[in-house]
């Protein structure tokens, strides 16, 4: 399973972003082999239709099949359920990327 995590800045201690489509960076995590890649959000400055473009970019280019967030726009949710993707709504108490990676059993230090 390849999971997208929206984060505020590109470090392991970064908080998970409050919004999905307008977060600054994304952590692309492959749960099977523990690979972790951080990419900048290319659509951040756009005012309209960010969610749709971002969704296509993540799913078609990066082949992600699971979205993790606190909150998602209705269009992203609609597209995700149509494409039969896994959606994970995390709880407020798990706030940093590091904590989420620990839950997945991934040791991040060796992979960066």
């Amino acid at each position: 399973m390849r999971i997208v995590i929206p984060i505020d800045d590109n470090s392991l201690t970064s908080n998970v972003s409050d919004t999905f489509a307008r977060s600054n960076y994304f952590a692309l995590v492959d749960k099977e082999n523990g690979n972790l890649k951080m990419v900048e959000n290319p659509f951040k400055a756009m005012t309209k239709g960010v969610g749709v473009k971002l969704f296509e970019w993540l799913v078609d280019t990066h082949k992600m099949n699971a979205l993790l967030a606190f909150e998602m726009g209705y269009k992203v949710q609609q597209m995700a359920s149509e494409a039969n993707l896994q959606i994970i709504i995390v709880n407020e108490q798990n706030k940093t990327l590091e904590e989420l990676l620990n839950f997945m059993g991934i040791e991040p230090d060796s992979k960066i």
Partner: protein
């Protein structure tokens, strides 16, 4: 209406079949309301006022359908017909639910009452589960239970019911 008129005329001439006729009238009653589709379960289960507490028995019950309509119209800024399309109910149905939701929220804010978000006739797109280890909620992609949490692989999961 036609059936009622028919029943009335039958009554004039035939008292023996009155029972059958009244059963006919009973069948004309309104059909049950269709539940609206919900995208994701709400994040919080309830809201509490600070500084002024009422007992929880006096909480305002906002059901999940009302929450979803309120979210789509006021948070996402959709029109009523767009929201109706998304929830697969009629436009006037959305308006009715929205009115109820706004009254309940205004009541809770004015009278400083707790707001419970639960219940109601609702229909999720997929089945939703909650993990008891990492407290995250997730949808199941198959019709049966996924068995493990996709985040932490814990087997302690339960279905998010109404």
């Amino acid at each position: 209406m036609n059936l009622k008129c028919f029943a009335f005329f039958c009554c004039l001439f035939d008292f023996g079949h009155m029972f059958v006729i009244f059963v006919c009238i009973d069948n004309v009653m309104a059909r049950p309301r269709k539940p609206g589709k919900i995208q994701t379960p709400p994040r919080a289960k309830a809201f509490m006022p600070v500084g002024y507490y009422k007992s929880s028995s006096e909480a305002v019950q906002l059901n999940i359908e009302e929450f979803e309509v309120f979210r789509l119209l006021d948070y996402e800024g959709l029109t009523q017909s767009e929201a109706a399309k998304l929830m697969q109910i009629s436009r006037s149905g959305v308006a009715r639910i929205y009115e109820k939701a706004r009254y309940k929220l205004a009541k809770a804010l004015t009278e400083a009452k707790k707001i419970d978000i639960e219940g109601g006739s609702n229909l999720f797109d997929n089945d939703w589960y909650e993990c008891e280890r990492c407290n995250s909620k997730f949808n199941s992609l198959e019709s049966e239970s996924p068995g493990t949490c996709p985040l932490c692989n814990s087997t302690y999961i339960h279905m998010v019911n109404n």
